[in-house]
């Protein structure tokens, strides 16, 4: 029913970039060339060299090592955020979309309220109430991400709930939960998958933004956002400090965007 599958350059590019990024993240979990908090007064703001491929920061810490670890932190936070958003969003969206009625009205209005705030603003409020740190940021962003997933899933369920195969299943006495999760949910996968990827991208940017504001990962740990934040003072004297973490954010987002883009077609 579709034209013959062909591998577009953008898909290959997306795969390559994402693959390299994932590889770096995996490496970062088990190995970094230097201890990421090891300070070296002789290498303060050192330019990229063979010993330090991305240069050093203002404490003489190796930026490459910190980027590897920072990508891992950013990745973990973004993944956890999307996981919270997806799971909660699917459950809320599925029930409200399938059953409708007052539950739908109430939850969706609440959803609208939450949705009305920019996710970063919402997360800021959360963090100011419960404090900073990695796990609070995950919780804050996760909650902020629920409405968009709930909305998408609900839309899909509304579309499917009146379809003939669902009606037949209902007539045949299939339990509601089974209809929801076994009959309908798999059909929402294509839409859900691409929104997960887009959501992941947004989460990467949101995490970077939160850490950039100093409320995400706490120093001396690193995330891509916190590195960007720390680097801005040295933008002119040591541009590599800002360029490499920034580049990694761009590549992470670009790679997944290309994949999501192909996946949606």
């Amino acid at each position: 029913m579709k034209k013959k599958k062909q591998y577009a350059p953008s898909l290959i590019l997306g795969l390559v970039i994402t693959g390299v990024m994932l590889l770096m993240i995996l490496v970062g979990f088990v190995y970094t060339p230097y201890d990421i908090t090891k300070m070296d007064s002789t290498a303060k703001l050192a330019a990229p060299s063979l010993a330090h491929p991305m240069g050093c920061d203002n404490f003489g810490r190796d930026i490459f090592s910190r980027v590897l670890k920072g990508m891992g932190n950013t990745f973990v936070i973004a993944s956890a955020t999307v996981a919270i958003g997806t799971v909660s969003g699917v459950i809320i969206g599925a029930f409200t979309g399938y059953f409708g009625g007052w539950l739908d009205e109430v939850l969706m209005r609440v959803n609208d309220v939450v949705f009305a705030f920019p996710s970063i603003l919402l997360a800021l409020v959360f963090v100011s109430l419960f404090g900073t740190g990695k796990y609070n940021v995950i919780a804050a962003l996760g909650i902020a991400f629920i409405p968009s997933f709930a909305r998408i899933v609900r839309g899909e369920f509304i579309k499917y709930r009146e379809m003939d195969y669902v009606r037949s299943a209902r007539l045949a006495g299939v339990p509601q939960l089974r209809i929801i999760f076994v009959h309908i949910l798999p059909n929402t996968m294509p839409v859900l998958a691409s929104s997960v990827m887009i959501g992941f991208n947004n989460a990467v940017l949101a995490e970077a933004g939160m850490s950039y504001l100093g409320i995400g990962v706490q120093p001396p740990s690193a995330s891509l956002g916190s590195m960007l934040s720390e680097s801005q003072t040295y933008l002119f004297s040591a541009p590599w400090y800002a360029v490499f973490p920034g580049l990694m954010i761009i590549l992470m987002v670009l790679g997944l965007s290309l994949l999501a883009d192909r996946g949606a077609r």
Binding site: T37, N58, L124, T132, G209, L228, Q232, T233, S237
Partner: protein
């Protein structure tokens, strides 16, 4: 007190908007580089800092300005936030008060040596028992509105600050004032309930400035007696000042001053390089390094004690050996090298060099870095494998955050893990300073007057602002001794007792003392006369154009 929070809020909000609009491309704040945490003693706590900038219109016109005779000279001072109040007794931030210093004067005022010199009063005598102060009003002194200063104005101003006109005392130390009398047209007599040697110092702060008794609204139309008078103000934009030609003392050199609000610290270098601003006080070493040949960077000190303050009541810091171990593990010089290119003055107790006779320099060398000794002290204290603790650091002070990271790294060498938790300034005030809910924190503590008590009174075990819960009988006794000596005006004995207090703080390792941070002032070449004060003061009247 809210000022700092507001400022941080603004930075946060601005940063947020930035993030939302341009994702991550932008470059907002070197948050508060060049800032230092201020805990002034009389004004309870917060104060915002001011980075002054002097400015002529642009590069080209600055040449022109220099050529004109002194009478027509103009200067623009950049400040990182608007003034929180133009009424001296209501002003909160040190960043506001250091500007008001140029508009208002008290009966006496501090000079650049830290001495108290006559201002609105020309002289004073004190009774033998230290209870009655008799001030002679300066002859012919005038307010900015041209009216002569009368003893009634003085009485009104002091009584307002002391809460004698109804209401709470604005300056808590002034609740000690029994009465203010005006026996004749040139004399004011202030009677105290108890003798107090820091009284004159507190009387000299800008909060205790003399204002006209008939002033209807100082907030919109400030009238004082200082070398500069208020002209106009545009909220969050600028404040314009003009030389007061009827000033009683040595007149200021530069005629016009515009205080320009530069809320974004990233814009400081741009403003300087672009010629919009000629002088900025308290730039960071990095900002100073980015400046070109047109500028001179003057180096002074911030006049505060930066330290890792430890909650002496919370385990494991209730153990003296643990605190000493931390002192042995921290390398002050290395911190200076990492954070401020080696600039700054290491200190060993709660006292900084500007205090002169009270400052005990030898205490700096009490703990020379010795990791073996630190480890053995930890073992003796029952922590042979180290421990971990949380260090709360106000996130808007980049220099403290940087220092905290270096300290954390140094402590790793003795297996002590310091987990840094960045918190907002307001949270810091609430939780750490007032709530005393912390294990360790890294900030700077400054003094509002050059009286030893301004630094040392907080460490008495029952002091209301003893946020580190330091409790030491010997210290309390020594401090009492100092007060007793002051009451009978025995300066030598008082100084000796204060020095003993400092020594006790150092020997019992009340806190991990680090440094008095360096203050860098960027001045465009051609401008002269910037004067460092041992207190939080920017004196514009000494500035000059060559």
């Amino acid at each position: 007190m809210a000022k700092r929070g507001q400022k941080f809020g603004k930075v946060l909000f601005a940063g947020m908007l930035l993030t939302l609009t341009v994702a991550l491309g932008g470059c907002s704040g070197d948050k508060a580089a060049g800032d230092s945490t201020q805990i002034a003693d009389t004004s309870a706590a917060n104060s915002s800092e001011v980075e002054s900038a002097t400015n002529t219109e642009a590069n080209a016109s600055s040449e022109e300005t220099k050529d004109t005779e002194e009478g027509g000279s103009h200067i623009t001072i950049g400040i990182p936030q608007d003034l929180d109040s133009l009424v001296p007794s209501l002003s909160q931030g040190a960043g506001t008060q250091e500007i008001l210093y140029n508009i208002y004067e008290g009966l006496y005022k501090p000079d650049s040596e830290g001495n108290l010199v006559p201002a609105v009063a020309s002289d004073y005598t004190m009774s033998e028992d230290g209870l009655v102060y008799t001030f002679t009003l300066r002859d012919g002194i005038k307010f900015h509105n041209g009216n002569p200063v009368t003893v009634e104005d003085v009485k009104y101003s002091i009584e307002t600050c002391a809460g004698l006109n109804g209401g709470e005392p604005v300056i808590s130390a002034f609740s000690n004032i029994e009465s203010v009398e005006t026996p004749d047209d040139g004399t004011v007599v202030i009677t105290l309930k108890e003798s107090s040697s820091p009284f004159m110092a507190i009387l000299s702060t800008v909060e205790a400035a003399i204002v006209p008794a008939d002033a209807d609204d100082l907030q919109t139309n400030p009238v004082g007696t200082g070398p500069y008078r208020f002209v106009s103000r545009s909220l969050q934009e600028n404040v314009v000042l003009e030389r007061f030609d009827d000033y009683w003392g040595e007149p200021a050199h530069i005629k016009d001053i515009t205080l320009k609000v530069l809320a974004d610290s990233d814009s400081i270098v741009m403003n300087l390089e672009g010629g919009a601003v000629d002088l900025v006080a308290r730039v960071s070493t990095q900002q100073a390094a980015e400046l070109g040949d047109d500028f001179e960077v003057l180096e002074g000190t911030m006049n505060l004690v930066q330290a890792m303050y430890l909650n002496n009541a919370a385990a494991p810091f209730d153990n003296e050996k643990v605190r000493q171990a931390l002192c042995y593990a921290v390398n002050k010089q290395e911190i200076l090298d990492f954070v401020s290119e080696g600039k700054g003055t290491p200190v060993g107790s709660s006292m900084f060099p500007a205090f002169g006779k009270y400052y005990v320099e030898e205490l700096n060398d009490l703990y020379t870095t010795d990791l073996e000794k630190a480890k053995s002290l930890l073992a003796e204290a029952g922590y042979p494998d180290g421990f971990s603790f949380t260090m709360k650091v106000p996130s808007n002070y980049q220099q403290h955050v940087d220092t905290a990271q270096v300290v954390a790294e140094q402590l790793k060498q003795i297996n002590v893990t310091a987990n840094i938790e960045l918190i907002e300034w307001e949270t810091w005030l609430n939780d750490v300073y007032q709530g005393r809910d912390f294990e360790a924190t890294l900030v700077g503590v400054d003094a509002s007057t050059l009286t030893a008590g301004a630094m040392l009174s907080r460490f008495r075990s029952d002091a209301h602002n003893n946020f580190v819960n330091f409790s030491n009988e010997e210290y309390d006794a020594a401090y009492k001794e100092a007060l007793a000596a002051e009451a009978v005006m025995d300066d030598e004995a008082a100084t000796a007792a204060y020095k003993k207090c400092e020594t006790i703080l150092a020997e019992t390792a009340a806190n991990v003392y680090i440094q008095d941070m360096c203050e860098l002032v960027a001045v465009r070449k051609g401008y002269t006369g910037y004067t460092f004060y041992p207190l939080y003061i920017q004196d514009f009247s000494k500035l000059d154009v060559q």
